[in-house]
């Protein structure tokens, strides 16, 4: 009796399981039938040829979902419909967008690739991911399709950019054009300079004198003066001090010796050590891990100058200039470029490489390669690209001085991402064919600071160069020790810069030894090997 009843309960449990399982399956019947043809056909590789069939080819395109407040669904909105009408229908292609969470792009892509569920156009910013798929034979060769259908695309990208996607002589990835290569910049309080009657500093030494004057004379009459505000990210926010002392080296050395081991880098740190001991830089910079202390010092009017992203002072958020002006109506940060290299006299600085997002076609989509290239080629049409970037006149943009100025659109016609970047796959940033117009059009993105952008940009690219290692995949050692070594590098800066001047060398040298022992040596060796392998001697 008792056991029987127990068995009954177990049975109820079992039935529940079955019920729930079937409940899960029931609604899928309809859905799988729509999915089946695409996955089934791509797996076997022998699909209908797109030329004559009446049934449209389905082109599945990954699209990032950023969860912008108030956004329309990224896979079904004004833009996707426009793409379908203007590209899909005439070419008998059905463009389906597959959303992917932006911050999980690599994880999601890995899952998709591993399960054969990947869209026909996959996106990533991760060079290593692309290379790994290439090595494992997971990517479709795009060379022939590009030659046949991609004339416009090839012209738009140019060989320089195309070669970033070439492995073993064949085109395996299409890489978007990055419009803005400007990287770092320096800003200074214009009102402080005027008050002290100082010129805009034009050499590293003049800059140093200016910082000293700020410290001594306190032109802003504030509680504490921080002549040069910094964060813990020293090699970025104080890039200019390092660049001042760098010697010219071969491309290979520049790539291999990555920062710390470049001849002259240590001297840059020594200079910062001097500034620190004279009280010219943020006293607690190693503690400022997210830049919030720097932002605070800037907005409260303590900081006289600082470095970082070339447009940092002009941005709406954190809004250095905008918020500073609320506290001090006359105050303003203007872009400067004081750092001069002691050997060449140039204002050298590293730029971003010209590459944007990487587009790949998984092997499972081999049959769709032509459609993929047709799609990207269509997008390279200036009129199409213009519409995708700027939308309709009077709705998404207005023409100011002959240039399109984007306006904030809400509701159905909104752009779900900044500058519609997720639908303009082949470009990263606001693009116009004419270079000067392009910069002017970009300036519209900085309301209230438009007048500073052009200077800011031009100074940031003056004498700039791209790291010769750009586009190389990270070595195994980089992947293994990267995070540890980055932290170690910041520790080296923090400890050596805050040391007493006479102890600087000892601190620096002993920490460098620790860096090498913590995997740094391995990285140096592997980088040298990789360079020889991929770029020759």
């Amino acid at each position: 009796m008792r056991k029987k009843a127990l068995a009954i309960i177990s049975m109820i449990f079992g039935i529940m399981l079955i019920v729930t399982a079937t409940a899960g399956c029931a609604p899928t019947g309809g859905q799988t039938s729509t999915q089946q043809p695409s996955t089934g056909s791509t797996d076997t590789g022998k699909t209908e040829t797109p030329t004559t069939t009446a049934k449209p080819v389905e082109l599945r395109v990954e699209v990032f979902d950023r969860g912008t407040p108030g956004q329309t669904p990224v896979d079904n909105n004004y833009w996707t419909k426009w793409i379908q009408e203007n590209f899909g229908n005439p070419n008998n292609i059905k463009v389906t967008f597959v959303p992917c969470p932006r911050s999980q792009e690599v994880d999601t892509l890995n899952v998709w690739m591993a399960t054969g569920d990947a869209p026909d156009i996959c996106l990533t910013y991760d060079v290593a991911t692309v290379y790994n798929y290439y090595k494992e034979g997971g990517l479709s060769d795009l060379t022939d399709a590009l030659n046949q259908y991609g004339a416009q695309l090839k012209q738009y990208l140019g060989d320089d950019l195309l070669k970033y996607g070439v492995y073993g002589g064949r085109q395996y990835a299409i890489i978007a054009k990055r419009v803005i290569q400007a990287n770092t910049g320096t800003f200074i309080r214009k009102d402080w300079l005027e008050k002290l009657g100082l010129p805009i500093p034009d050499t590293t030494d003049e800059f140093y004198q200016t910082l000293k004057a700020f410290k001594e004379k306190n032109p802003g009459n504030v509680d504490k003066v921080i002549p040069y505000a910094m964060t813990h990210d020293v090699d970025y926010v104080a890039y200019g001090f390092f660049q001042t002392f760098l010697e010219d080296v071969s491309d290979k050395d520049y790539y291999v010796k990555n920062r710390l081991f470049l001849p002259g880098w240590k001297e840059g740190a020594r200079y910062l050590n001097k500034l620190y001991n004279e009280g010219l830089i943020s006293p607690e910079f190693p503690l400022d891990r997210d830049g919030k202390m720097r932002d605070e010092d800037v907005i409260r009017g303590y900081a006289g100058s600082y470095g970082g992203n070339y447009d940092l002072a002009l941005r709406n958020v954190p809004g250095h200039n905008t918020n500073l002006k609320k506290n001090f109506p006359d105050a303003e940060f203007i872009p400067i470029d004081p750092f001069t290299n002691i050997y060449s006299g140039k204002h050298r600085k590293e730029l971003y490489d010209p590459t944007g997002i990487r587009m790949i076609v998984p092997k499972t989509s081999q049959a769709k390669v032509d459609a993929v290239i047709k799609y990207l080629n269509w997008m390279a049409d200036p009129d199409v690209l213009f519409f995708l970037q700027f939308g309709e006149e009077g709705v998404h943009h207005t023409i100011v001085d002959g240039l399109p100025m984007l306006t904030q659109v809400e509701g159905e016609k909104m752009m779900p991402s900044l500058q519609n970047i997720d639908y303009t796959l082949i470009v990263n940033g606001i693009y116009l064919a004419d270079a000067t117009k392009r910069i002017k059009a970009n300036a519209f993105s900085y309301p209230g600071n438009e007048h500073l952008f052009e200077d800011s940009y031009n100074l940031a690219i003056r004498d700039g160069y791209v790291n010769p290692g750009a586009g190389l995949i990270p070595t195994d050692a980089d992947a293994k020790y990267g995070k540890v070594l980055d932290d170690k590098e910041l520790e080296i800066y923090a400890k050596s810069i805050t040391a007493k001047p006479e102890e600087f060398d000892a601190v620096w040298d002993s920490l460098i030894q620790e860096y090498l022992a913590a995997g740094g040596q391995e990285v140096l060796d592997q980088r040298a090997k990789l360079w020889d392998e991929l770029r020759g001697n």
């Binding site: 399956c25 969470p101 809004g319």
Partner: protein, 290 residues
């Protein structure tokens, strides 16, 4: 007398400790709340600590104006309720038989359950399973995989087996079958543990978003935590805009992030006071007597 003072001092020390632990939990909440109510320039110049500075409700206006947020919230409420009800039913139905020593194969089933606590297939096999079950982009993907938590099931099983056997025996003698015993005797006696486990399931479902991240691409089925995750992490961070080379002029203000956090957290916090009395309630006082 002496001991009275001693115990009073002891009480005071306890009170102080509890007070500080409460502060440790409360202050971060308060901080987020006040950030969500402060103006942006006040936040950036670090003038916001515990109370809002330059009080403004703009961020909440933006959050509440966002229809997708409201929809996600409602969806998550329904999802959490359904999930919790189904989970509890499944967990009870599994735990009760397993708490009976006489059940054949009991050890085998228990072993199978315990194994899942230590080993799992991993992300990709899980994805393949869900895909082949046809659950991608279905509510089911958010419900079925987590229906029974092995840990919760074992807690419940242990609780059931600690109930006095004499209770059930007397019910059997009176002619009740096991189902009746479960529903009319065991469950009413187990209210505290049922409340606790329901809370575990509900809070777990409310807060978890990894599954929706992988299995759900249809924005209609985004749970609120996924929305929140996207708002806090995805949305045009300076690093992302640096990589993408887009203009980082329209970053999401801190206060909006904080308002979204509050928006997602408060509903589930409201559940606690409601279940509170069950935690406090003594377990089975005087159930045998009389």
């Amino acid at each position: 007398m002496d001991s009275g003072i001693k115990s009073r001092i002891f009480d005071m020390i306890l009170n102080v400790i509890v007070f500080f632990s409460v502060l440790v939990c409360l202050i971060p909440m308060l901080y987020v709340a006040s950030v969500s109510l402060s103006s942006n320039s006040a936040i950036l110049s670090r003038r916001v600590y515990i109370w809002p500075v330059e009080l403004t409700f703009d961020s909440y206006r933006v959050v509440f104006a966002d229809k997708t947020m409201i929809r996600s919230l409602l969806f998550t409420v329904v999802l959490t309720l359904v999930f919790t009800a189904m989970s509890m039913m499944m967990t009870i139905l599994m735990a009760y038989p397993l708490s009976k020593k006489g059940l054949k194969g009991r050890n085998f089933f228990l072993l199978m359950v315990v194994i899942t606590m230590y080993f799992s297939g991993g992300m990709i096999p899980d994805y393949i399973l869900i895909k082949n079950l046809g659950l991608l982009n279905k509510v089911g993907a958010l419900i079925f995989p987590g229906l029974i938590s092995a840990f919760n099931m074992i807690v419940l099983k242990t609780f059931f087996s600690n109930l006095p056997e004499s209770l059930e025996e007397s019910a059997l003698i009176d002619g009740a079958n096991y189902l009746t015993i479960l529903v009319r005797i065991v469950l009413p006696l187990s209210l505290p543990v049922l409340a606790t486990l329901s809370l575990f399931y509900a809070v777990g479902r409310w807060n978890y978003f990894m599954d929706s991240l992988l299995y759900i691409t249809d924005s209609k089925l985004y749970p609120i935590q996924l929305k929140l995750y996207q708002i806090v992490y995805n949305n045009m961070q300076p690093e992302i805009s640096a990589i993408e080379g887009s203009i980082a002029s329209n970053l999401l203000p801190e206060s909006l992030k904080a308002a979204s956090v509050m928006f997602c957290t408060i509903p589930i916090l409201l559940v606690y006071p409601w279940l509170q009395k069950h935690f406090v309630q003594g377990i089975m006082i005087g159930s045998i007597k009389g």
